[in-house]
């Protein structure tokens, strides 16, 4: 695939955002323009996918000197796994934008411009091959998220924005220090030209930033309030897409560029991941509302993905990449369904919900299918991902696999609880007859996401064997993707 395609994937949404802001479109148009741009992105990504050689290294590469004094360039490109993450980003954002268009957001030009800006920034993060560029996009994500939550969020949005921004900035500024130290010691900020580093401090600077973004226990303090107060489609992107930036950074930078510290800190990081997995699952089981369950399950799933990454072997990496995509799709779907439920009942509290399956077959089917896949029923894509991850950590130590297996049981508990509390049991006080079934437009947004998950369930190897060239993940990572 050509380098211009990568650049277009990044800058088309950014340019569209500017056009939305500057040109005084009628506000009804904004949503349709944004959806159109997102669909064009999906099309471009499919073109990229069809031209991608999964046995090759970096593709769609483009490099222009930005400023040579410090060896910084505009350098983008895609690996197999980053192609999948870019696809995840584009598909989920397209769904989120379409959902917001359907739901109708006020001040729509500003809103959809910010969503497109976010899309461009996230694609930029996944494709940057230069640390300064990566950091610029990484920080660039923060601005639209901050405004989206702060303006269109729920009642407690002020606290949510401050918590979210302060956590994120604390992490990313540590990363800035780490980037400066790393880049100057290497003489270049280019991720492909630079070699490895063995400084634990610099490694930790990166790890903390990514751990906050993901989030990984114990850096998840911002998660509950942010996921609850954001508009549902923004929560969907936060947990489906933005969290994967953290995991991606761990893989692309922390593990690949710092092999020795990664080995040294393998056990502590596995412990944190395992604790997050179990703790997140327990919190999800205890959460009193729909979004709480999805939010904490997201914490648990990021723990699982981290477990896979820090297994530092083939199965672990493959499983982590597969699970990133699968969890991204599932979590986006779940948050959009949660948004639909909240629209109908104006609450997400289990105490006021229940019995929604009756007379709402589409909602019941969609939620049931998503929930069952999310609890990793055998045969599902999530099962394939978790199985690979468990296989990976089993090689590191059987104890880790036990933790992971326990968490799968817990996942079944919280997901079934969610399904039952919303769909079954007695009819909740907030569920009235006015609460209709999912509308065709909503189904038109959610079903394609679900279809992706089902396709991956049928053929998980589509990703797990096509994430790293030659399916030799550990070797490729050790060679820093060169």
């Amino acid at each position: 695939m050509s380098g211009w395609l990568t650049t277009t994937l990044i800058f088309l949404p950014l340019a569209a955002a500017l056009v939305l802001w500057v040109v005084p479109w009628p506000s009804l148009w904004a949503g349709s323009i944004a959806t159109l741009v997102a669909l064009v992105e999906v099309g471009l990504w499919i073109v990229g996918l069809s031209n991608f050689d999964f046995d090759g290294g970096i593709q769609g590469e483009q490099q222009h000197t930005w400023f040579s004094d410090l060896g910084v360039s505009y350098h983008v490109g895609l690996y197999g796994f980053s192609l999948w993450l870019v696809g995840l980003t584009i598909v989920c954002t397209a769904a989120a934008i379409a959902y917001a268009w359907w739901a109708g957001r006020d001040r729509s030009r500003a809103y959809f411009g910010l969503m497109l800006f976010l899309l461009g920034a996230v694609v930029g993060v996944f494709t940057s091959q230069d640390l300064v560029l990566f950091y610029a996009f990484f920080e660039g994500m923060l601005i639209p998220l901050y405004v989206l939550i702060g303006v269109w969020g729920g009642a407690d949005r002020t606290r949510a924005t401050y918590t979210f921004v302060i956590y994120t900035m604390a992490g990313s500024l540590l990363m800035l220090a780490a980037i400066v130290v790393f880049g100057l010691s290497q003489g270049t900020f280019d991720l492909i030209e630079s070699g490895t580093d063995d400084s634990s401090w610099v490694f930790l600077g990166f790890v903390v930033a990514f751990a906050i973004k993901a989030p990984i226990f114990p850096f998840h303090g911002w998660l509950p309030v942010t996921y609850r107060e954001s508009p549902p489609e923004v929560s969907a992107l936060l947990s489906g897409v933005i969290s994967k930036v953290g995991a991606y950074g761990l893989l692309r930078i922390a593990i690949a560029k710092f092999p020795e510290p990664a080995q040294d800190f393998q056990v502590p990081l596995l412990v944190l991941a395992g604790v997050g997995l179990v703790y997140g699952s327990l919190l999800a089981f205890r959460a009193p509302d729909v979004r709480g369950v999805i939010a904490y399950s997201s914490l648990a799933q990021m723990g699982l993905i981290t477990l896979g990454l820090f297994a530092l072997n083939d199965q672990g990496f493959d499983g982590a990449v597969l699970q990133m995509v699968v969890h991204g799709l599932l979590s986006t779907t779940l948050f959009l369904i949660a948004g639909g439920i909240e629209r109908r009942t104006s609450t997400g509290e289990f105490a006021r919900l229940g019995g929604m399956a009756h007379g709402r077959p589409a909602l019941a089917t969609v939620l049931m299918t998503t929930g069952i896949i999310a609890l990793a029923v055998p045969g599902s894509a999530a099962f394939a991902g978790e199985f690979l991850i468990l296989l990976g950590v089993f090689d590191t130590g059987w104890g880790w696999a036990v933790v992971g297996a326990v968490a799968i049981v817990l996942a079944a508990m919280y997901m079934l609880r969610l399904i039952s509390a919303v769909l079954h049991q007695g009819r909740g006080p907030a569920v009235t007859d006015a609460a209709l079934d999912l509308r065709p437009a909503e189904l038109g947004i959610i079903v394609p996401l679900l279809a992706c998950v089902l396709a991956l369930s049928a053929w998980p190897a589509g990703i797990s064997e096509r994430a790293f060239p030659g399916d030799r993940a550990a070797q490729v990572v050790e060679a820093q993707f060169k």
Binding site: G140, G150, L173, A177, V180, V181, G183
Partner: protein, 488 residues
């Protein structure tokens, strides 16, 4: 018979042009009727500055090798020319911001004339390379600024601010002068390079070090670096907002560039001493500026503390004392000056719209009611934090790189923590602009009088802030060539 030194008129011309503009503006204000005075004075003030800017650019282009002019009283080098361009540019933008500032007609001529004079003084000072010319330049622009701060006699706080600035500023000047005297006493030289030569033999002579410390203090006053910043919030808050905008950008450029030049030219042998001192001042500025800004409700005052904290950021590369540091400082000044001018310009516009001081509450909903100005202010706030797409992102990157290069990684950590703290108050601005719409201060549908020049100034500053992020290499080359004129 006294020998007169040969005078390089071309090298002096960037300073003379705004002076000429100021003179013409003043003269014409006397003879012209009230109605056209403002337009004519502003035009000639701006024209003088513009010619100064162009001449400075020409001198920059023509002076790859630094040399002393007028018997080594000043230097013709790219450092001076670049700083002159920044100062003249800030002056022109200030004319745009100030154009509609004063409802009264009597003093408009002086207003723009003093602005051009102050800019000329600063442009002279950045090229000065002799203790006497340095002090001359300092007083030249300071006195102009004292008057400018107090010029709006109908503004309650203006006179107070002018007086405060006069008293504290004179105190700073006195310390600087005393420092100069001690340095001269220790080395017997007035020219910076000669002091540097003499200083090599003296190394850590106590009189020289005391002089150096006092010079740092005096320049610290002008740069509003903590702990010499106490005048800053009051003066920034009280002065007419365009004057504040000018001070925040141009005075910062002058003080920091002069500091860079004096320290590296006159005190290379004492580098260990001043590097540590500057690092200490930087840390104090970062800490005090950011912490104090957290509790401010008045936006001008908050931006004043923010300028203290940015002085801290810009002192980091000076403390690094390497070539990358010089380059980083000169690069940083460009987006910082633009963002600062732009932010104060928008505050000025809001002030004129509401006819009351701008507080965080008064900004509520401005982002939606005045889309362009609100968006710009939000973007400046993000830029001040160091988020893309603002050039300060690169500025911080370079400043931190310079510190790492000089083995002062701890300064980077301090800078990072300070940035994290600053997020809170900069975002408070964005929050007011977009997220607090419950307060409706402006009647719906109404629009303030169009201010073409102010809007144009904001457009230019916005373009500089974003452009410096995209076109980094050309600006780095400019800054690098300028930093080359010093001996690192």
């Amino acid at each position: 018979m006294i020998d007169t030194p040969s005078i390089d008129w071309l090298a002096l011309s960037p300073v003379l042009a705004p002076l000429a503009g100021a003179g013409i503006a003043l003269l014409l204000s006397v003879v012209l009727p009230y109605g056209v005075r403002r337009a004519v004075a502003a035009f000639f003030g701006a024209l003088g500055l513009l010619v100064g800017l162009i001449l400075a650019a020409y001198v920059y282009w023509k002076s790859p090798d630094a040399q002393g002019i007028v018997a080594d009283a000043a230097r013709r080098d790219r450092l001076a020319s670049l700083a002159q361009m920044m100062i003249a540019g800030a002056g022109i933008l200030t004319v745009g911001i100030a154009y509609r500032d004063q409802p009264r007609q009597e003093h408009v001529g002086e207003y723009f004339a003093l602005l051009a004079t102050a800019a000329a003084g600063m442009m002279f000072m950045v090229s000065a390379s002799n203790l006497m010319t340095l002090f001359l330049g300092l007083e030249w622009f300071s006195i102009s600024l004292y008057v400018l701060c107090a010029i709006d006699i109908e503004l309650e706080t203006s006179l107070e601010s002018g007086l405060k600035y006069l008293i504290v500023g004179s105190f700073g000047s006195a310390i600087l002068l005393f420092g100069f005297a001690l340095v001269y006493g220790a080395t017997g030289a007035l020219e910076l390079g000669a002091i540097g030569e003499a200083g090599r033999a003296l190394e850590h002579d106590s009189m020289l070090l005391l002089g150096l410390a006092m010079v740092l203090t005096g320049l610290g006053f002008k740069a509003s670096a903590a702990p010499f910043h106490q005048w800053t919030p009051d003066v920034y808050q009280g002065s007419p907002t365009p004057v504040t905008a000018f001070m925040s950008a141009a005075t910062k450029v002058t003080a920091l560039v002069v500091m860079l030049r004096v320290l590296n030219t006159a005190f290379p042998a004492q580098e260990d001493f001043w590097s540590a001192a500057v690092a200490g001042i930087a840390v104090a500025s970062l800490a005090i500026g950011n912490l104090a800004a957290l509790v401010q409700r008045n936006v001008k005052r908050m931006l004043a503390y923010s300028s203290v904290s940015h002085a801290g950021f810009m002192l980091i590369p000076i403390a690094a004392a390497n070539e990358l540091g010089g380059q980083a400082l000169l690069y940083y000044l460009i987006p910082y000056g633009a963002a600062s001018l732009g932010a104060f310009a928008i505050v000025a516009a809001r002030e004129r719209e509401l006819r009351q001081p701008v507080t965080l509450d008064n900004l509520s909903g401005m982002g939606w009611e005045r889309p362009f100005l609100g968006f710009s202010l939000a973007l400046f706030a993000f830029a001040f934090i160091g988020l893309p797409p603002g050039g300060l992102f690169m500025g911080k990157l370079f400043a931190f790189s310079a510190a790492v290069d000089a083995d002062m990684t701890w300064l980077v950590i301090v800078g990072v923590v300070a940035t994290a703290v600053s997020v809170y108050y900069y975002l408070a601005i964005v929050r007011s602009l977009y997220m607090r719409t419950e307060l409706r201060l402006v009647p719906a549908g109404g629009a303030p009088p169009r201010e073409l020049l102010l809007t144009a100034s904001v457009v230019v500053t916005l373009a500089i802030v974003v452009g410096s992020f995209v076109f980094v290499q050309p600006l780095l080359d400019l800054a690098g060539n300028a930093a080359d004129s010093l001996r690192f």
